[in-house]
């Protein structure tokens, strides 16, 4: 897509709060935007390095909890007479902490779990998310367990007299949009850099990549850190928007939602998670409007996921791209069979 087209699209999206006055729709867009950021971060691992990480929601949830705890302040007894605590800090600082903590967790988990590949890696990543969920559920002193953390403050920026509050939906929408664009640019820069090419090389053929001197584990860890930090940031956004966070945020089903978004849109493409995210952010609301029971909605998700794997194995975006390029070539009379090319950027 050309740069001009992207700018027009972003400008159009930025103008949404001006003409969309129904806050319900705005809410849907905000939540969709947050999940698109999470899906984009997952795509870095799933699409570009080819590692099916099914513990991604852990980073999202760690970001959400870190941001909530730093902005609320906390105090825990590590030992009976040793207390660790923190006074409430501003929300912007909490969100930075969330990004950093999620990134650090990503580093540790990457170092640990990339000792194994394939099915082992998948199961290890699920296990990690489950452990984090159980900790959030059981460490009641820190996380309030199933009682949830309430009254999480909304984001405000600025000094006395000039305060910018992101409590209202239009402002928060613009914040999410900004974050989405920033994350998109970071990922685009990363995958088109030397590191990105190394990631794609190891996805295509790990032994070959190693043989030409690519430090595979290092690039996998780099991808995990960036991906985890971004997911953590998305979690922080979510927590200051919804303003309540409970251990259910770590449920496997959220990871599955992100995976469906990436796979349907097209893993290993920049636009894929956005397309998938929009579809799976909007479709549930449409189905809800039709008063379809949530179980039926989930069944439809599952069926769709299977169908996508069978009929659009590379996702919607690559399918559209190859359709467009075959149409562009057709009038010249070149009957060239388009070989399934490796997913572009």
């Amino acid at each position: 897509m050309s740069r001009l087209l992207v700018s027009i699209l972003v400008a159009l999206l930025a103008s949404v709060p001006l003409w969309l006055t129904d806050f319900y729709y705005l809410h849907v867009l905000i939540v969709t935007g947050i999940f698109i950021v999470a899906a984009m971060s997952l795509n870095l691992l799933l699409g570009y390095t080819g590692q099916l990480s099914l513990g991604h929601v852990a980073f999202f949830g760690i970001g959400a909890y870190t941001s909530a705890l730093v902005s609320l302040g906390f105090e825990v007894h590590i030992l009976p007479d040793v207390t660790v605590g923190m006074a409430p800090k501003p929300v912007w600082f909490a969100m930075l902490c969330a990004t950093a903590v999620a990134g650090l967790t990503g580093y540790a988990i990457g170092k640990l779990s990339f000792r194994v590949r394939g099915a082992y890696f998948v199961i290890v990543s699920i296990s990690f998310a489950e452990v984090v969920r159980l900790v959030a559920l059981n460490w009641v002193e820190l996380t309030q367990g199933p009682m949830a953390l309430n009254n999480i403050p909304a984001l405000t920026l600025g000094f006395d007299g000039f305060e910018l509050s992101f409590l209202r939906k239009p402002a928060f929408y613009l914040l999410v949009l900004t974050m989405l664009v920033v994350c998109y640019v970071i990922i685009a820069r990363l995958v088109n850099s030397r590191a990105g090419r190394a990631m794609i090389a190891l996805r295509e053929n790990e032994s070959l990549a190693m043989s030409v001197g690519i430090d595979v584990t290092r690039y996998l860890v780099v991808a995990t850190v960036v991906s985890a930090a971004m997911a953590g940031m998305a979690g922080a956004l979510y927590t200051h928007y919804i303003r309540i966070v409970d251990p259910d945020i770590f449920l496997f089903i959220y990871t599955v939602t992100m995976v469906i978004m990436v796979v349907t849109g097209g893993k290993g493409t920049l636009a894929g998670p956005i397309v998938g995210g929009v579809i799976f952010g909007i479709v549930p609301e449409v189905l809800r409007g039709m008063e379809i029971r949530p179980e039926v909605q989930w069944i439809a998700y599952g069926v769709l996921m299977v169908l996508v794997v069978y009929f659009l194995p590379r996702g919607i975006v690559p399918a559209i791209e190859s359709y467009m390029s075959s149409r562009r070539r057709a009038p010249k009379g070149e009957a060239v069979a388009v070989a399934p090319e490796a997913p572009q950027q």
């Binding site: 194994v116 296990s127 159980l134 069944i299």
Partner: protein, 290 residues
Amino acid sequence: MGELVQHLLNATILGGTYALLGIGLTLIFGIMRVVNFTHGELYAFGAYCMYALAMLLGVNFFVALVLAMILGAALGAVLEIVLLSRLRGADIDTTMLVMIGAWIVMQNTEQLVWSGVALSIANPFPADPLVMGPLSVSWNRVFVFAAALLLIAGTYHLVNRTRLGKAMRATFQDRDTAALMGIRIDRIHTATFALGSSLAAAAGALLGPVFVVAPTMGDLAASKAFAIVILGGLGSVTGATLGGFILAFVEEIGAGYISSGYRDAMGFLLIILILLVRPTGLFAQKERIG
């Protein structure tokens, strides 16, 4: 001391069903290279079959158990033929995504059909527990343990002593060569999936009367089965058997002496620990580092 022995006894009895779950999953992975995300749902399916047959239709408890296993095998065969047979040779991530899709469909169908209310199944055993000195264990659990051991032994016999088992092991070692020797790989895949599913359904049908039956019961079972096969090494039946007992011991001791809230986390912590110390797993011979 008596407390510790009681914990060990509980762990042994729990370990039998864990092993059953693990063996089913590991067979399917070993022979088909498929990570079966529907394993937990097949477990739940077994429990629901038990409920429908024994409680709603009034079938005899033991007959219902056998029928639940047969229905589990049938459902497994259908899943394999409909979903996986067209994905032969596809990479592991592709089949995993399909199985995740199937898992979502199955779990929500259960939710739709049975609603979220937990159901209980009556068992025909005496309500008074079996008391041996300071130890006590319910008769139902004794039966579950005996049945699990019987099924494990049966699976070992099937895999190691029969023609079908020989064909399975050949397929496990080298699919292409096995095909060249005249083994019908498609049939072996369907049979393996049906066998694994049947074992999962048996575990569900056995544990349904011990605990309660609910649509989400499969998630916990699946996560434990994953932990067990990672412990034992994917594809190793012996590893899965031992892994089942190890997980049961760690959980029981952990819940008894550390914190019962973290009972279900023990398996995962064990996996992470094993990866730190010994990434090749406890019993796997095969190279698994990328």
